[in-house]
Symmetry: C2
Subunit: 211 residues, 2 copies
DNA sequence: TAGATTGTTAATCGATTAACAATC
DNA sequence: TAGATTGTTAATCGATTAACAATC
């Protein structure tokens, strides 16, 4: 029983994908599924699926398989999607605006409670139900509203300062779209670097490698 | 000498990060660096850095280290950033528009040569130096211009059809922002799934796990 | 009960780290 | 030359896959 030991990032990164596939199965009226069949659909091995699920509990029934809807809700709970972590967005330029309006935060376990920018042209603009605030209001806002997570859609040059400041203000996690590599924010800050450029460059590599 | 054997994805995914750090070093006037010092800055081990570089060649000098600028250009070349792969964007909504205008494709080994949408409200709009075309023009455009890569910023429901069509039109790689999981496009299609929602959910997991 | 499929232990595979001879 | 650091082989670690007893 490997329950409760620290879960590896490899497993964690597969959870949202299971969540997605289970949602589709559920929507298609599939009520139960075996690890073998799920493996086939997801291009994984049945072994891996069973190992992954057993990190968190015994969700299946021997000789039968897994109940799709129940498993879906277990993974939802494991991912923490049932409690909304308050988050703020720093940088409401092109990318920031898109993220704010397109991400369906409340389906992903987050609630966007504040948007900040330092450009006077952008401050005051409405984005969904929020109004872009000045970065000068950040300290007071955080003290009052205690956001846990910050989304960074800012230029590389301003990132180190912002990260430093937000860490002091109690931010525990960063979703980082900036080109700055957050490695030394705070030893136990949780960082998810998105780095779309890196992703694009690996495609460049793999496409040329093909020839 | 492990040269020319198939390079693992773990190594490939580190290359853009090396590229970024070397750029910064170069900009800060650092001309040479040892694997030990680079490891310290990047939070890696010196061993790993030397192993990684030696997948592609012998770029260092024993007793001395690596020349920053030379190594930077080697990695640029390895990533294929010196030749621009022609790419098209499908879906010019919020996310598609942001990607088109913010990505600096030509610095990442790509050239955006066409943008397509099926919404009449969007078709005809200018984005940078391009004009959004109708998806009806896709076949003719691809036959004439031979794009190699497609960026998908479309809803999950339209994705399977588009992927199928583009594969037939000779697209070799997909940069996929849609929620659809491209697994069965073509056995040797190159796919980079971005899945921002998945990324956000892993943050949700890790933040609640902390408590 | 027999058949099926899980949960879990053991074996394998691959990636990372350590060690050290080669050499600048 | 002596000191430093690479390139590369060997050892370790972790993740994936295979096997199988438990059990529905």
């Amino acid at each position: 029983m490997s329950r409760n030991e620290r879960i590896s990032m490899s497993v964690i990164r597969r959870l949202p994908r299971y969540y997605r596939f289970l949602y589709d199965l559920k929507e298609n009226g599939v009520t139960r599924i075996s690890s073998r069949e799920l493996a086939q659909r997801m291009h994984l091995t049945a072994s891996q699926i069973r190992q992954d699920f057993n990190c968190f509990g015994e969700f299946g029934q021997q000789g039968y398989g897994y109940m799709v809807e129940q498993l879906y809700h277990e993974i939802e709970r494991i991912l923490g999607l049932d409690q909304l972590t308050p988050a703020i967005l720093i940088g409401a330029g092109n990318m920031g605006h898109t993220i704010a309006t397109q991400m369906h935060f409340e389906r992903r376990g987050m609630k966007l409670i504040g948007i900040f920018d330092k450009n006077p042209q952008i401050i005051g603009n409405p984005i969904d139900k929020l109004t872009v605030l000045s970065e000068d209001e950040l300290v007071e806002f955080c003290q009052e509203n205690r956001p846990q997570m910050a989304i960074l859609c800012i230029p590389k040059t301003s990132a180190p300062g912002v990260v430093q400041k937000l860490t002091e203000l109690g931010i525990k996690g960063f979703w980082n779209f900036s080109h700055y590599d957050i490695t030394d924010a705070h030893p136990d800050a949780i960082v998810e670097n998105v780095h779309l450029s890196d992703s694009l460059m690996t495609l460049s590599y793999r496409l040329q490698e093909k020839d």
